[in-house]
Point group: C2
Chain length 227, copies 2
Amino acid sequence: MAEIDTRLRILDAAESLFTQYGLDATTLRQITGAAEVNLAAVNYHFGSKEELIREVFRRRLTWLNQQRLRELDRLETEAGGRPLKPSRILEVFFGVALKMAADTNGGGRSFMRLLGRTYRQPPEFVRSFFAEEYTAVIARFKAALIRALPGVPGEEILWRFHFMMGAMSYALTGTDALHIVAEDALDDSDSDALYARLMSFMLGGLRAPLPDLSGGRVKRPRISKAA
Amino acid sequence: MAEIDTRLRILDAAESLFTQYGLDATTLRQITGAAEVNLAAVNYHFGSKEELIREVFRRRLTWLNQQRLRELDRLETEAGGRPLKPSRILEVFFGVALKMAADTNGGGRSFMRLLGRTYRQPPEFVRSFFAEEYTAVIARFKAALIRALPGVPGEEILWRFHFMMGAMSYALTGTDALHIVAEDALDDSDSDALYARLMSFMLGGLRAPLPDLSGGRVKRPRISKAA
DNA sequence: GTCTATATCATGATAGAC
DNA sequence: GTCTATCATGATATAGAC
């Protein structure tokens, strides 16, 4: 039954199970069981569970971020030296992710759920790996946004980028949270509509008036002390 | 050493450890060790680890949502029958959370981190409990927002609420993700500034032009097939 | 490369003395 | 209510035959 694609079978099964049950809760027995592969094969091919996990992320994340850079390159080349529109920049960064998430067959949807879940709180042994994968990309998109929005300080752009990541994360992979908010009132299966909704929300946030950061009193609701 | 506050010591230690290591990864031995309490005390006072977890959430979450409803009641009473401003509504819902998150001493900060982390993907045995805690609150705030934004359909409001939860989640408890985006360029310790930034971003998103959901082609980047 | 069998360890839970 | 001691379970990892 097993050939050299054992390695691939393990990666696919692991990706799917990690998405369903989480990194910790998924056992090597589950993985090898689903992959119809022997338990010992994981340690033979990957050395350890941790290295398997890193490899699950590596094979897709590297590709994802390469696409982002490639698309941004193309846009900037087309534009000559002129700044891009903010909407185009967001469309590249988040559109690539949404597109992967819309791929129900190839496992892209599953992977994006896993990524969204892990990106936020990577276990120690993936954190540095994530940082390597992302820093170049973030830097490029930050620079493009700064040029696109001359009125907005770089610091503010990074914050808004962070908030947008949160919004995207909930949009793409927050199905459980969505059901708490919306019971069954919302349908997250139409990825085109979701993309449109998310884009207009993000653009609105990205171009919002700058916050008043004057040291003075910030408007906040007064909360009574009652227990 | 031990009295009847054993129960409290366990809850506090559990909250803190769950925040640091996650629900699964935290063991009862860690908890009872930190609480300086006997291992068997957890099962005596709570019956099981799962029940302990629910209790950790219950004691703070109930209070949090009660505050939200109370503040909203107050605003609506003050306004007579007139619709509230969207900004005031957001200030209540998110302001209460931010305020709790800013409480470094009483453990509020730790709890909000835990909540943000768990809300998104609750284990089965907390999901229904979360739903109970949230449905009434969401319904009230949704209604208020619908009245405040007559041009925006209820469905769109729920989506934007969902996106806002994502943004807040990253703002309040996404420190790890923030460092991936920003290396060390951003400081998330100034909670007043963070609140102001988050509010203007959210308001911009909430009031953004409605997305074009016409069945036609939605603008999306073309991704090349290259592997 | 693949398999069986097993070593080693840590977990949640509990029985029963105090 | 609190403690010690222990059980049953399931985990990762690996040794060694094929």
